[in-house]
């Protein structure tokens, strides 16, 4: 791998930019791998990278049906934060945030992680009580959140309507300073390039269609659109398509697939230098480096594999944004799109071996797994390599739906599901 640096940029500038090489090889599938990762999103690529880097397992392939990052990892609104409620979740999302803080250096790829801070506004007395309870729990566990007043919100987000006559009046809120955004494509490409450099084969246009099991029921090969590929272990890391692959492998999951929409406006001059979220509506917005306002809200509330959003939710999210940020109502919408997200009942991920021995999975991130990519990869790689869950990953077992030990973040942290 040719390292990127100020020097390499300078050198290429002198040489007419002719020396750049593709960031990863277009590998053809080998007959057999020690581990096959199904799904070339952030979590799949990070799993492959940490398998190679942390565990020395390099005979690894990532099989991607379409192109790298064509799923949710390339479609999300890129908010990174760790303001969850339960200790298990905080351990997980703090691991992710800490890894993100060093990711550009670690991958030698600028993922443009900008810790611009997140502001969450409460819109009623009850929201303020919820906020007091949430940040109390988070602070006890070391998350850098602090309560802020309406005046502080007005100063930090002048575009937000905080007047007493606002449709969604602002009573106060809280802030996480270490939260922010990153460049989604860069996270995906950075992991792909770094994994490739360690010997991982990244194979695009290769859809997994089935599994071959040994007499004892252990996974021994995957069937793909590019033929059979033998493996010692495999992992399903396909977000919204988890149930489809689980069915192919012969088991069911507590997952429902929904479309989640996002929107971006035409670029405008800097108007918003934090991520802003309101509790009453679940609508959130940030401004990209190109100047577009990137925003989103709730799910389309019926199961979907159609990678497009529906009009009623789209209209409601756009209308809510324009209501809360009156000035934004005059900016033109540039694009709208959707990704298929994997929602589980307790809004917490599943990182575990499946009922099929040798077959692992990482799913259930729903609307919020971009922020967790480094941790999801780290923990799943640990379990694949050692055969045992990592301490931080262990609570996120599939078995919790049998034992009842759910980590109910939907109820706990008030996230928009």
């Amino acid at each position: 791998m040719k390292r990127y640096s100020a020097w390499s940029l300078f050198q290429e500038g002198l040489g007419g930019q002719k020396g750049w090489r593709p960031a990863w090889r277009a590998a053809a599938p080998k007959a057999r791998y020690d581990a096959i990762i199904i799904g070339g999103g952030g979590h799949g690529l990070a799993t492959a990278y940490y398998l190679a880097r942390n565990h020395g397992l390099t005979n690894v392939a990532v099989l991607e049906r379409g192109w790298i990052g064509g799923g949710n990892s390339g479609r999300n609104t890129t908010i990174i934060r760790s303001n969850y409620y339960y200790p298990q979740s905080i351990a997980l999302f703090e691991l992710a945030l800490t890894l993100y803080e060093k990711l550009s250096i670690d991958l030698n790829f600028n993922v443009m992680f900008s810790q611009r801070g997140l502001i969450i506004a409460g819109n009623s007395r009850h929201d303020m009580e919820t906020i007091a309870r949430l940040i109390g729990a988070m602070r006890l566990l070391g998350v850098d959140v602090e309560e802020i007043t309406v005046d502080e919100i007005k100063r930090a987000v002048p575009a937000l309507d905080c007047s007493p006559r606002a449709r969604f009046p602002v009573f106060g809120g809280y802030r996480q300073k270490r939260a922010g955004t990153a460049r989604h494509d860069a996270v995906v490409w950075g992991y792909a390039r770094a994994a490739d450099a360690l010997g991982v084969d990244i194979i695009e246009n290769c859809a997994v269609t089935g599994f071959e099991k040994s007499a004892s029921g252990r996974v021994q090969a995957v069937e793909t659109s590019r033929g059979r590929i033998a493996c010692d272990k495999a992992a399903i890391v396909v977000a919204g398509h988890s149930s489809v692959l689980a069915e192919a492998a012969g088991f069911r999951l507590p997952v429902t697939s929904y479309a989640l929409q996002a929107f971006v406006t035409e670029p405008v001059k800097p108007v918003l230098d934090v991520v802003c979220w309101t509790l009453a509506t679940g609508v959130y917005v940030s401004q990209s480096d190109k100047g577009g306002l990137v925003f989103g809200g709730g799910l389309d509330l019926y199961p979907s594999y159609a990678q497009r959003g529906n009009l009623p939710i789209g209209a409601s999210v756009v209308g809510t944004l324009a209501e809360q940020f009156p000035g934004f109502g005059r900016i033109r919408l540039l694009r709208q799109w959707a990704g298929i997200v994997d929602v589980v009942h307790d809004s917490s991920p599943i990182i575990d071996e499946t009922p099929v021995p040798g077959l692992y999975m990482n799913c259930g991130w729903g609307t919020g797994g971009f922020k967790a990519i480094p941790a999801g990869g780290w923990l799943l790689a640990h379990q694949i390599a050692t055969g045992k869950p990592h301490d931080i990953g262990a609570p996120f077992s599939l078995n919790r739906f049998r034992t009842g030990a759910l980590i109910d973040e939907a109820a706990g942290a008030g996230i928009a599901h």
């Binding site: 398509h241 149930s243 489809v244 069915e247 069911r252 999951l253 507590p254 997952v255 429902t256 697939s257 509330l301 019926y302 199961p303 979907s304 594999y305 159609a306 529906n310 009009l311 009623p312 589980v344 009942h345 739906f401 049998r402 034992t403 009842g404």
Partner: protein, 91 residues
């Protein structure tokens, strides 16, 4: 925008309805095992293709009914009442 043909009110826009998830899930007997109970509570077919699901006409007659809808295209093949048999699978 989905146009849903409520068995009682006729065709209405999707914003009048809410989806209640997979249909035809039978509640297990009280003597069921933990595994059966958790299957019932949490595990779902979640098919990429035709889904038999329950909908409610919230801003209308407020009745529950069933819909056979393709989750890839959102095309609705059948609408049927709670006490009606599910439609024959499409060939």
């Amino acid at each position: 925008m989905l146009l849903i043909n409520c068995p009682w009110c006729g065709p209405r826009g999707e914003h009048e309805f809410s989806c209640g998830g997979e249909s035809h899930i039978a509640r297990p007997a009280l003597a069921s095992t933990d595994a059966e109970w958790s299957d019932y509570l949490y595990f779902r077919k979640n098919p990429k293709g035709e889904h038999l699901e329950r909908w409610r006409h919230d801003f209308g007659c407020r009745q529950w009914f069933n819909v056979a809808r393709d989750t890839r295209t959102h095309a609705i093949r059948a609408v049927y009442r709670m006490d009606e048999q599910k439609p024959e699978p499409e060939r």
